[in-house]
Every structure is written in structure tokens, then in C-alpha cells.
């Protein structure tokens, strides 16, 4: 039942946006309120997972929620709720036409639905379908206002991600193929627990090939270099709310898919094949992201590269055994909170400065003090400074690297993180200080819109000092999943 409560609100919201024409603010509000229900359901699922129960529901065990799913559900639904409360169309702003708003609300809810579906289904074939669907739906939201840049970004986005995700399907088919080759056709073969149980009997040589396709495929979606190229474009041209969702949780959902498969492939191969690949790609990602940040000229792209950087980190974490996975999942939560907030704030900044160029934003502290302070706090969190949660998760991650015997790789990682750190802080300072151009008005508007950001900061702060027991047992549950 919880699954219905989780999934139906967003479908209902999409339906509402579809049937009510023209768009009315009430639709936006009711969608936002509906998203709270999903969030509640996610918390309920998490409660079960913490208690050690694995929820399974639906025909043919269609839905299943272990700790891993529960964690992602909470992240996705939380960020989704924030997004919907901050979405355009809830106030009386005339920035968008009714048609655009209707389209926005329709597709963003479908997008949220497909992400939630991806993390709650049992069948990893359907998971693939859901993730593919996220591309389609989110692509529809990117060019909310038509411009050369937004069209270009969305074309690249849909093209590259569709190709990538298609390759992931090749991997999925190969995995299924191997199952079938050994034990004949079975309707539930792609149910994750079934596949995992059977995994030790699968053929290593086939699973290796399959994993490459999956890695490339889901890696494209997650923003692993060098398949990350769509990411800065899409993030910089989307509405801030969509960027927040994409960067905060979509990347995590893709990593989730990869992790599911990694567990299966590890059960088959048993050696460090997947770990080596993930480490290599993770470090490459980190390298490219860190150095891309050095010369970034656009703050939304900067945030996007930062997401790439964190994807790299998470990817490395996944390769570092159970404690690394623990750290990576911790990091996913922190990153979701920080990055979604940053994109929301970037929306506010864009609204005031009418430019996403770093050079155009000066004296943010004078122009929008509250936004600036939150933005600075978020950036400090993103670069891994205390007292924010990312400091803790990065510490845990590097510790995992040392414990699992990769001191040199961790050294490289720390160097790259330092490069990213310096780059981001320089950009941040150039935004915060200096003299704004005269025509920029000062003062904050829509003060209530800062409330969700304050909540994000609070979450980050709490996670920086304190790991609630329930959260910890959730993470431990995930770490236990990857321990054979």
C-alpha cells in the first residue's frame, strides 16, 4: 500500500496538470501538497527498512523496498517536494505563460514519478524503463522558454542520454540472456533478488561484457566522465527547479541502478573487476570535473561540474567495499540536500541578475544578503568543509579508501578535491564580493521561498555533527547488502 501512496501522488499531480486547462496556481499548490504525501510514504518505507523489513508488494512482486531503495525514495521525494513548493506557477509571477506552466507541471510530475518508480520496482528491466522515461520527461521541461541554448541543451541531453540508456539496455539484455541460457526463460528472472541469488552461477565472461554496457549506459545518465558532457549543458539551461532535481537526485538514481547491477555482477565475478572500473572512471570523472571547474565561466555550469565531481566521488565510494558504499550513500544524501538547494538559489540569482555568467554576478552579499549567505553555506558544504554533512561523508569515503588499501588513489583524490575546492571558492568569492552594477535592485523578494533552503542547511548541519541512529541503521543496511 505504501508503494501506491508513494507513486500515485505524482501521477495524480500530472493528471491534474493535464486536465485543468488553462493552468491555475491551485494546480501547483495541490501538486506540492500531494508531494508531501509521497514524502510521508517514503518515510514510512524507510521506517520498515530500518526495522529490517523488506517490503514487497504487487503482482509478481512488482515492488520491493530494501534499505537502498528506501534511502533513495526519501531523497527523491524530499527533493521533489521542495521542488514542487518552489516551482514556478505557485505565485502570481508573469514570467511564464499558462501553456508553459501546464507543460512544466505535467512533465515534472511525470519525471518525479519515473524516478520514484525506478527506485521502487523490483524488476531491473522495469527500472531501466523508468530511468529511460526520466530522460524523456525531463527533456520536455528543459526548454521551458524557447531559446537557442535551451533547445541545443535539450537535444544533446536527450540524444546522449537515450543512446547511453540504450546501451544500458544491451547490458540488461545480456544479463537476462545469461540467466536464460543457464536456466531457461523465467518471467521473474529480472527481479533483482532472483537474479542476485542466481548470480554466482552466471558466466563471468558474459557478465563482464554486460557490466561494461551497464556502466557506460547508467554512467552516462549519472554523469560519469567522459559521458558527462550533456550534464553542464542541460543543467545550465534548465529551469532551476529541474536542475535541482536532476543534479540532486537523478544522478543518484542512475548510480542506484548501477549499484544494483554491480551487486549482481560482483556476485558472479567475485573479484575486483567492477571495483577497478568504478575507481578508474570515478577518478577520471573527478579529474575532469575538478579541472573543468577551474575555468568555469557560468555559475550554473559550475554547479553542474560540481555534480559531476560528486558523482565521481560516489562512484569511487561504491568501489571501496561496504564501508565505501556506506560513505557513498551518506554522500548521496548530503549531496542531494546541498546541490538541490544550490540550484534553487541559482534560480533566485538568475532571476535578479538576468545572467548565468559568473562575471555578471558581483556583490551578491549586498544585493541579496540572505540568498548570498545560503549560497555561500551551500558552496562550503559542497567543497566539503565542516560543519556540513559532506565533510563527514567525504571523510568517511577517504577513510574507506585507506582502509581498503588504496592510499595512492586517495592521495590523487585529495589532490583533485583540493583543485576543485580552490576553484569553487574562488568563483564563490567573485560572486559574493565586489560591486554590483547599478541597475541591479537590492533586497530579497519571496522571502518565504528561502524556507526550504533553510531546511536543507539545517539537514546538512545536523548531518555534519550527528548521524541519527535510524539513518545510520539505514546506511548500515545498505552496507550489509554489498557485504557477501
Amino acid at each position: 500500500m505504501l508503494f501506491l501512496l508513494l507513486l500515485l501522488p505524482s501521477l495524480l499531480a500530472a493528471l491534474l496538470a493535464l486536465v485543468v486547462r488553462p493552468y491555475r496556481p491551485a494546480v501547483g499548490w495541490s501538486n506540492a501538497v500531494l508531494s508531501l504525501a509521497a514524502f510521508g510514504a517514503a518515510l514510512g518505507v524507510a521506517g520498515h527498512a530500518i526495522a529490517g523489513e523488506i517490503l514487497v508488494w504487487g503482482p509478481g512482486d512488482l515492488f520491493r523496498a530494501d534499505s537502498l531503495s528506501a534511502l533513495l525514495m526519501v531523497c527523491v521525494s524530499a527533493v521533489a517536494a521542495m521542488t514542487l513548493f518552489l516551482s514556478p506557477g505557485l505565485g502570481r509571477s508573469a514570467a511564464f505563460t499558462d501553456r508553459q506552466l501546464r507543460r512544466y507541471h505535467l512533465f515534472i510530475n511525470l519525471f518525479i514519478f519515473s524516478m520514484l518508480l525506478a527506485v521502487s520496482v523490483n524488476n531491473i528491466g522495469i527500472m531501466w524503463i523508468a530511468i529511460e522515461a526520466t530522460t524523456v520527461f525531463s527533456a520536455m521541461v528543459i526548454p521551458l522558454t524557447l531559446s537557442k541554448a535551451s533547445v541545443e541543451a535539450s537535444w544533446k541531453y536527450i540524444l546522449i542520454c537515450s543512446v547511453g540508456i540504450a546501451l544500458a539496455f544491451v547490458g540488461t539484455v545480456l544479463g537476462y540472456f545469461d540467466f536464460v541460457a543457464l536456466s531457461g526463460r523465467a518471467e521473474n528472472a529480472l527481479n533483482w533478488p532472483v537474479l542476485l541469488n542466481f548470480a554466482p552461477h552466471l558466466h563471468p565472461e558474459v557478465m563482464r561484457i554486460a557490466f561494461i554496457f551497464l556502466l557506460i549506459g547508467y554512467g552516462t545518465k549519472a554523469g560519469l566522465a567522459p559521458m558527462h558532457t550533456w550534464l553542464p549543458d542541460a543543467h545550465s539551461e534548465s529551469p532551476a527547479t529541474l536542475s535541482a532535481l536532476m543534479s540532486g537526485v537523478l544522478l543518484a538514481v542512475a548510480m542506484y541502478a548501477l549499484l544494483r547491477w554491480k551487486m549482481v555482477v560482483d556476485a558472479t565475478l567475485g573479484d575486483g573487476f567492477t571495483d577497478t572500473l568504478l575507481l578508474t572512471l570515478g577518478l577520471l570523472t573527478l579529474f575532469i570535473a575538478a579541472f573543468s571547474l577551474v575555468r568555469a565561466s557560468n555559475y550554473k555550469r559550475m554547479l553542474a561540474y560540481s555534480s559531476v565531481e560528486h558523482t565521481g566521488l560516489i562512484c569511487i565510494g561504491l568501489a571501496l567495499g561496504p564501508i565505501g558504499t556506506f560513505a557513498a550513500m551518506y554522500h548521496i544524501v548530503n549531496h542531494a540536500a546541498a546541490k538541490s538547494m544550490m540550484f534553487f538559489l541559482s534560480g533566485r540569482i538568475l532571476h535578479r541578475f538576468h545572467s548565468t555568467e559568473l562575471g555578471a554576478v558581483r556583490g551578491l552579499l549586498k544585493v541579496m544578503p540572505a540568498t548570498a549567505i545560503l549560497f555561500a553555506a551551500g558552496m562550503l558544504a559542497l567543497v566539503g568543509l565542516p560543519p556540513f554533512g559532506l565533510f563527514m561523508s567525504e571523510f568517511a569515503l577517504v577513510r574507506a579508501g585507506f582502509v581498503t588499501g588504496h592510499p595512492w588513489l586517495m592521495a590523487l583524490l585529495l589532490v583533485l578535491l583540493a583543485v576543485a575546492f580552490v576553484a569553487l571558492l574562488r568563483h564563490l568569492n567573485s560572486m559574493l564580493h565586489g560591486t554590483p552594477t547599478a541597475e541591479i535592485a537590492t533586497g530579497e523578494d519571496h522571502r518565504w521561498g528561502l524556507v526550504p533552503m533553510l531546511m536543507s542547511v539545517a539537514v546538512l548541519l545536523v548531518l555534519g555533527f550527528y548521524l541519527p541512529a535510524s539513518f545510520q541503521s539505514l546506511l548500515d543496511g545498505i552496507a550489509a547488502l554489498v557485504t557477501h
Binding site: 559521458m227 577551474v294 571523510f395 592510499p407 585529495l414 568569492n429
Partner: protein, 678 residues
């Protein structure tokens, strides 16, 4: 008792943060932040003193916070307590001074909320660094300290150079953190909780290569905070940018925590190491000391000058510690104790006189609104107290007896001289060279402070601002006065303090009795085996007596005591103006020639001649600049390289969707081929 002090300290700093955030600006806010900081600092002082005096460590743990790795674990032992005392000693005068000094920032538009809150948090995190008892607590507090001080540095964020200074600072400090993280994690091995007790036990099981790697990482990591050459680049940038009472704290106290960390690692966690560890510390210390003072000589920005002197003094501290560690590895514990205690005592002394000097520089800045010494002069008449205090600080940092700089430098000298007892000649020969460098350093420091004091306070004012300088507020003077008093007290009474330092050291393996017996309580400082002894107290008394006697005797002999004010005699010149005075640059010119090989100044001479004839010169322009070699050879190439890589990486994102798809295809095929033949 101890836990009462602890809670008073923590709550006072916490309340200070909240007060600043709530009250914001105004005298009430400033004074309440200051008094809470003084309260907290005093409690810290009390806590530290109690731990040192009773010899029992204070510990407290909060397992619910930071559950990721062992909880928030605090334990204050002797070594930490010493540094906590240092923090208290620095915090009280700085806070008192800051209460009125910061008033000016209110008009400047800086955020007083931020400044007050960060100041309190800065003190709190520093205090907790000395108490941290596991890895995560340490790193958290360490980075908290860096971050809060970073915000204090960028208080005047409307200035371009301040922001850039902040960038340098935070970048260097973050690199340091990364190194420390590496050191700690290597030391932790497979352990995930990382309590210091476990690390101590773990350290013996590690191979010597790993131990050395840990040492190097820790040395560089803590060194970047302490400001060793060539990782010191942030100091001359950040110290001038920060408000002066913060500079005083940063230079006087914060960079010392780098020394704390180094000692914590080498003495405590690693429990000593091969002789080259000490040798490396000694070598870097010597280089930092000499180059620090040499670059200080060439500065005419008062606060930059002081910042370079911090590098110098960290070098001196490291000379003592390095020598001590070398002796330790040869088992000469008495000499080892002498070196390390000398280093620690210099740490304490530097905290007093450097804080004093920064506060003095702040007062000057406050009065003249410039840091450029070339625009100062004559301030001794406008601000006599500040001048007196600055003079005491200058004399102390120049190691002039009977002030405190002398006492600790004497100990460092003595420990270096003990080096001849090292049985291996190849090793012991390092020591006399270090002695030479230290001797040269202190000579140059004296020259530098004659310049700093003379150009700033003496002669005629060189600018309108200096002419209009005014006395600073009473709280600022009191803050400086307290530190000046400390300079005198620590100079006269090393024999009261040094045995306490010995007690601290006695807790570490191998030192035990050596540290105790070497420095019994007496009136003279005696180096081991009575190789040398001095009594600063008696010399101080003697000097006072002589200074009192001389006029008295002159009176007895009916010397002419009349005094007339007249014009300065200037070879028949008509009038004396400020333009005729020696400038800071010209004062340092002879030394610049002597050390031209090190400075390698750039020279640029442009001569504009008249159109009619090239023999008639219209205008001449001479520019000479000293770009330190480490910036030219180390940092600029590094930055260029990073930029180059960044440009290459940028080209990946060329904009073509086809290219992007090609990346996907190429990587896929590559990985497939690898997987096929894995």
C-alpha cells in the same frame, strides 16, 4: 574544577557567538562579545593551568555527536594544556583590544555579526583543537578553526586584495588539511574509530616507510598552517588583511597550533622517529628563520613585515624542536628536553610579543589608516603608550635581554650547541650551521625592528595621516599593556615557567626524569651538564640598577643637567622636513645589497629625455621589485601548470554532440575490449 572551567569556556564562547548574532552592531555587542571571549579565554587558561599543575589529564566524551568515528572525544593532557594556556593568553588581550578596535569596522560596512560570531567560534575551535582526542574531532575542529579564521581574514571583503588574500589562505590551509587527512588515515590503518590512544598503539606496528610517510604528511600539513618555508605564502597575505586583533591571534596563537600538531604526531602518536625527521625539521626551521627575516627586512607594509617575522619565529621554534628530536633519536634525553622546551618556550614568548606587535600595528593602522611605513613617522609623540609597548615588543622579538625573546632563543642556542655530543660527525655538523643561521637571523631581526620601530614611530610624520594620528582607546592600550607586561615577566622569570614545560614533556616516553631534573626551580637557567647558564632576572635587575645609578652618579659629580630644545642640526640646512628623512626602503638598502643574491630584485629604469637633446633628462623612473623565489619558482609554475591542464580539459567540452557521442563510443569499445580479455 576542571570540568567547571571547561563548561565555562565552552558556554562563554558559545554565548559569544549567539550574542554577536543577536546583537549585531553597537558598543553593547562589541563589549559583550569581548567580555565573553575574555571569560572563555580565562576559563581556558584556568583549565590549562590546572591540568599542567596537577598533572592529571581532563577528558570528556560526547559519543552521540560525530558517531561516524568515535564520537566527539576531548582529552586535555599537558601538551594540549600548554597550548590552551597560550590560547587563553592570546585571547584575553586581543578580545579586550578588539572591543573598541572593531568599532571602526562598523562604519566600514563589514558585518559585525559575522565578525563577532566568527571571533568567538575561532577561539572555541582553537581551544577544542588542543583537546581533540580522536581523528575526526581533531579534523573537524582544525578545519573549523581554519574556516572561522578565513572569515575573519575576509572581514573587509569589499577590498579586492582581501578577497585574494583569503583565497590564498583557504587554499593553502585546505591543502594542509588534505595532507593531515592522509597522515591520520595512514596512521589509522584498518581502524575506523581513530581514537588517539588506538593510534598510539597502532604506530608501533607500522613499517618504518609508512611511519616516515606519516611524518612527512604531518610535517607538511601542520607546516602549512605554521607557515614554514615555502608553504608560508598565505601568511604575508592573510595577516595584513585581517583585523589586527585577529592577526594577533592568528600569528600569536593559531599558527602555533601547527607546532602543537607536529609535536602531537611526532612525540606522542608516533613516539619519536629516526634522526632525519628531526634533521628535516631543523633544516626547514633554519631556512624559514633566515629567509623569513630577510623578506621581512624588505617589507614596508608594517603588518606584512610582522607576518614574515612569524615565519622567522616559527623557524626558530622548529630549530629547537628539530634539535630536540634529533637528540631524542640518539637517546640524549636531557638535550632533547632542552631543545623541545626551548621551542615550546619560544612558542609562548612569540605568542606574547607577536600579538603585542600586531596589536601595536593595529593601533597605528587605526590612527593613520595606512599600513605603509613610508607614510608614518613621529607617532611616538602622538601615541606614546602604543610606542612604548611596540618598543618592548620590538626589543623582545630581537632577543634583547632581559625580555622574553632572549630567554627562549638562549635555550635553542644551547640545545644546538649540545649537538657536538652527537656521535656521528656527519649529523652533528648540521648543528653549527644551524647555530650560524640562528645567530644571523637574530642579528637581522634586530636590524629589521630598528627599521620597523624607527620609521614608524620616530622622526617627523611622513604624511598628513601620520600627522593627524591620535591616541587609541583605553581598552586597546590595556590589551597591549598586558602583553608588554607578559613580555617582561616571561623574560625575567623563565625559571618559573621552564620547569612546568619540563613537567609536560615528562609525560612522553623516554623523557621522564630527564625533563624534570634538567630544569629544577632556581634563579638561573642552566643547560644540561652546566654547559651554560644565565640569569635573566639578575641581569634585568642589574640593568635597572645601573640605569638608575648612572644619572645619580652624574648628579653627584655635578654634571651639567641643563637641556635645550633646538632645531635639528643639518649641516647648515635651513629647515628640516620629513622628505629629508631616511625611508624604510633606504634603511634596508645596505642589507638588500648584501643579500642581493637571495633577493634578486628586478630593476627597471626608464629615462625620458628632452626632445632636443638626449643629454637633457626630462624624467627618470626607477622601479625595483623583489619577487620571492618561491613564488617565482614554485607557485607561479604550479598555477600555470594547473591552468594549462584546466585549459586542456576545457577543450573536451567543445560543444559538438557528435564528439560527445564519440567519447561514449570510444570509451565503450575500449572497456569492452578490456573486459573481453580481462
Amino acid at each position: 574544577m576542571a570540568s567547571m572551567f571547561f563548561w565555562i569556556m565552552v558556554l562563554a564562547f558559545g554565548a559569544g557567538t549567539l550574542t554577536a548574532l543577536v546583537l549585531g552592531r553597537g558598543a553593547l555587542a562589541r563589549w559583550s562579545v569581548a567580555s565573553l571571549a575574555i571569560l572563555g579565554g580565562g576559563a581556558g587558561l584556568g583549565l590549562g593551568a590546572q591540568v599542567i599543575l596537577t598533572g592529571t589529564a581532563f577528558s570528556i566524551t560526547f559519543p552521540d555527536l560525530l558517531p561516524l568515528a568515535g564520537g566527539l572525544a576531548l582529552r586535555l593532557d599537558g601538551l594540549g594544556a600548554f597550548f590552551l594556556v597560550l590560547i587563553g593568553l592570546g585571547a584575553i588581550p586581543s578580545a579586550l583590544y578588539g572591543a573598541t578596535y572593531t568599532a571602526e569596522y562598523e562604519e566600514g560596512g563589514a558585518s559585525m555579526r559575522m565578525m563577532g560570531a566568527m571571533f568567538s567560534l575561532f577561539l572555541a575551535t582553537m581551544a577544542l583543537v588542543t583537546m581533540a582526542d580522536n581523528v575526526l574531532t581533531f579534523l573537524l575542529m582544525w578545519e573549523g578553526m581554519s574556516l572561522t579564521s578565513y572569515y575573519l581574514v575576509t572581514t573587509e571583503s569589499s577590498r579586492e586584495d582581501t578577497v585574494s588574500a583569503g583565497n590564498w589562505y583557504i587554499a593553502m590551509t585546505h591543502v594542509g588539511l588534505a595532507l593531515l587527512l592522509g597522515a591520520f588515515l595512514l596512521l589509522m590503518g584498518g581502524d575506523t574509530a581513530g581514537s588517539f590512544a588506538a593510534l598510539r598503539a597502532q604506530a608501533d606496528t607500522l613499517s618504518s616507510t609508512v611511519r616516515s610517510a606519516i611524518f612527512l604528511l604531518a610535517f607538511l600539513g601542520f607546516g602549512s598552517k605554521a607557515g614554514i618555508m615555502p608553504l608560508h605564502v598565505w601568511l604575508p597575505r592573510a595577516h595584513p588583511a585581517a583585523p589586527s586583533h585577529v592577526s594577533a591571534l592568528m600569528s600569536g596563537v593559531m599558527i602555533k597550533l601547527g607546532i602543537y600538531g607536529l609535536l602531537r604526531f611526532v612525540l606522542d602518536l608516533l613516539g619519536g622517529g629516526p634522526v632525519w625527521w628531526g634533521g628535516l625539521i631543523l633544516g626547514i626551521g633554519a631556512v624559514s628563520a633566515l629567509l623569513g627575516v630577510l623578506y621581512a627586512l624588505m617589507e614596508h607594509d608594517l603588518k606584512r613585515l610582522l607576518a614574515y617575522h612569524s615565519v622567522e619565529n616559527i623557524g626558530i621554534i622548529l630549530l629547537g624542536i628539530g634539535a630536540g628530536l634529533m637528540f631524542q633519536s640518539y637517546g640524549m634525553m636531557a638535550l632533547a628536553a632542552l631543545g623541545i622546551i626551548g621551542g615550546l618556550y619560544h612558542t609562548l614568548n612569540h605568542a606574547t610579543f607577536k600579538s603585542l606587535l600586531f596589536l601595536g600595528a593595529g593601533a597605528v593602522l587605526h590612527a593613520t589608516h595606512t599600513r605603509n611605513m613610508e607614510e608614518m613617522g613621529g607617532l611616538i609623540k602622538k601615541m606614546p603608550w602604543t610606542a612604548l609597548f611596540f618598543l618592548i615588543g620590538s626589543a623582545a622579538i630581537s632577543a634583547i635581554p632581559p625580555l622574553n625573546g632572549f630567554a627562549s632563543e638562549w635555550m635553542v642556542f644551547q640545545s644546538l650547541l649540545g649537538g657536538f655530543k652527537i656521535p656521528v660527525p656527519e649529523v652533528s655538523v648540521v648543528m653549527p650551521i644551524a647555530v650560524g643561521m640562528l645567530a644571523l637571523t637574530s642579528g637581522l631581526a634586530a636590524a629589521c625592528f630598528v627599521k620597523a620601530f624607527g620609521i614608524t614611530f620616530l622622526a617627523l610624520p611622513r604624511s598628513e595621516e601620520a600627522e593627524q594620528a591620535h591616541q587609541v582607546s583605553r581598552s586597546m592600550r590595556t590589551g597591549m599593556g598586558a602583553l608588554a607586561l607578559a613580555c617582561v615577566a616571561f623574560g625575567l622569570g623563565p625559571t618559573l615557567i621552564v620547569p612546568r614545560l619540563g613537567q609536560i614533556l615528562a609525560g612522553f616516553p623516554g623523557f621522564g626524569g630527564a625533563a624534570h631534573t634538567t630544569f629544577a626551580l632556581q634563579t638561573t637557567l642552566v643547560s644540561p651538564a652546566a654547559f651554560g647558564q644565565v640569569s635573566p632576572l639578575f641581569v634585568g635587575i642589574g640593568l635597572v640598577v645601573i640605569l638608575a645609578l648612572v644619572p645619580l652618579v652624574l648628579h653627584v659629580f655635578r654634571v651639567n643637567f641643563s637641556l635645550r630644545k633646538g632645531e635639528t642640526w643639518g649641516c647648515g640646512r635651513v629647515s628640516q622636513t620629513a622628505r629629508m628623512e631616511y625611508t624604510a626602503t633606504s634603511f634596508a638598502e645596505p642589507l638588500r645589497r648584501v643579500f642581493a643574491e637571495i633577493y634578486r630584485p628586478t630593476r627597471e629604469l626608464t629615462v625620458d629625455t628632452h626632445e632636443e637633446s638626449r643629454y637633457f633628462i626630462h624624467r627618470m623612473q626607477f622601479r625595483s621589485e623583489i619577487i620571492p623565489w618561491f613564488e617565482k619558482r614554485l607557485y607561479q609554475p604550479l598555477l600555470r601548470f594547473l591552468n594549462f591542464v584546466a585549459c586542456q580539459v576545457r577543450r573536451l567540452q567543445a560543444g559538438s554532440a557528435h564528439l560527445y557521442l564519440a567519447y561514449v563510443a570510444v570509451v565503450m569499445i575500449l572497456l569492452l575490449l578490456i573486459a573481453r580479455w580481462y
